[in-house]
Symmetry: C2
Subunit: 299 residues, 2 copies
């Protein structure tokens, strides 16, 4: 049997399809835009890409939203309002002849990181994704922990200050309200960092040039992230934590502060034990993870 | 083989020993004071109690502190400074002829509650213990989740406000700093509740008489508890949560507020799914849990 695995990351703006081996090494990758029209049209193009990859063992699909991973159905996705109760697994299996599984994208990122960053050696593993939103996935005992209704890992919606700013979810003081993209922009505004368009990447470029206000913004990101992650370390006592998502491209700017701040919120023994890294492959992590879930986690 | 199980809860002031069946029903109980002198003396008296219980299958011991549950050794206990690297399992097995396991007391409480409150039907289960300190234990997939170095479940040391009051652990704004016994006393002081001696029980008695300030104290307890537990629900998406510990005797005073406040910090689906109860047996929970761990969790 072929040892090639196919992984797909369906996002709001693009679909990434990769061919990997079981170590997560990427052999081929194809990126296509997601048009928000009919899901069948997108899935049909996707199946053509999958077939073009030649012989492989399985297809794993990661997608943001509420996924029924047992049946391979996307119930609902906030980014793609047209996708409601889409039987992704069934469609792909019928049109490619390959076994398929579907999983929440944050769980895929966590599983991908567990393999490529942790080499499957850190059984209790957390990935925190920093981007427009803040999310995450939890691996317990080497397996994805989905919780009881499949929504575990909502790390961005830990309350880190009940009188904090209002979050996109409607609640106050969630970690995401502080360090999601909108939160980082708010920090920049408060600190007085100015640019034509303020984004985490623009702030990072200014920080690279030594801009003090830009550096101060990432100092605050470190502080808030440490409150949320510190709580997770005290509660879950994990072996390893990886930081992923677009904003993790700037991890070098806040890593030192983050590690120091963790000492303010975490017991010494679990903090000493836990290994913290930025993921090696931010760009392909979700798709790689989707590919890798299959041989270990398939139903 | 006898179906009787023995459970022991070694606390800072007393040792409780119970005889139960596998449903957790208590048939006998013996309570003895803990003198903080030589551990061997205490263990020797304990073994006499165990032998007096007649035929039984096993002994489970729960104790506060850093427990090496694999080897049955108490490494260190904050309540009993004389107990350092005590081989409890070895001592009890030698002196009673029964197989013994040793576990952190909060894990015992969680496992006990998983059986007697959840009837083993809620595989992802959290117990929050409210007392002098705030602690907890986590059951995942029907098994105690200890984390990577055995310290998982430190629910009291989630930071719920990074600029909050200083906690006994030295950090700021831990849940325990707000609603551990000392925290509740501080709330009472701020609200202006007065009594000769202010304790959670005294405040509860006043609340029973309709004292508005006393009721307001428990309203605040509900608020803070909801911040911490809400985060746990978003991250772990459990099936069931039980509230235990001495302060849970007053749960009827803050249950309604707590449930309402949870809605301010938790996503709707996992909140709707999770069953929340006060444990049925606050007094014996740790000892019952210690007894029950054995047949399911023994090494």
């Amino acid at each position: 049997m072929s040892e090639n695995l196919i992984g797909v990351d369906i996002g709001g703006t693009k679909i990434l399809t990769v061919l990997t081996d079981k170590s997560g090494a990427v052999k081929k990758r194809v990126e296509a835009p997601t048009t928000c029209s009919r899901p069948e049209k997108i899935l049909s193009s996707l199946c053509a890409v999958i077939r073009s990859f030649g012989r492989s063992r399985s297809v794993g699909v990661g997608i943001a939203g509420d996924v029924d991973s047992k049946n391979g159905i996307l119930r609902f996705s906030p980014n793609m309002p047209n996708w409601v109760n889409v039987g992704i697994k069934k469609y792909i299996e019928k049109n490619t002849g390959l076994p398929c599984c579907v999983e929440n994208d944050a769980n895929c990122a966590a599983y991908g990181s567990f393999v490529i960053d942790g080499e499957r050696k850190y059984p209790n593993f957390i990935t925190v994704t920093l981007g427009t939103g803040v999310g995450g996935g939890i691996i317990i005992d080497g397996k994805i922990y989905r919780g009881s209704t499949g929504s575990a890992g909502e790390i961005g919606h830990i309350t880190i200050n009940p009188s904090g700013p209002v979050c996109g979810c409607g609640h106050r003081g969630c970690l995401e309200a502080y360090i999601g993209t909108a939160g980082i922009k708010n920090i920049a505004k408060k600190i007085g960092f100015k640019a034509r368009v303020v984004t985490p990447a623009v702030i990072a470029k200014a920080a690279d040039r030594g801009d003090r206000k830009a550096l101060a913004v990432y100092g605050k990101v470190a502080e808030y992230l440490a409150v949320g992650v510190g709580g997770l370390i005290n509660v879950l006592n994990p072996d390893m934590i990886s930081v992923a998502g677009g904003v993790a491209n700037n991890f070098y700017l806040f890593e030192a502060d983050f590690r120091r701040e963790l000492g303010e919120h975490t017991f010494a023994t679990p903090l000493k034990h836990v290994k913290i890294v930025r993921t090696k492959n931010i760009k392909n992590l979700g798709a790689i993870g989707a590919a890798l879930i299959f041989p270990k986690e398939g139903d």
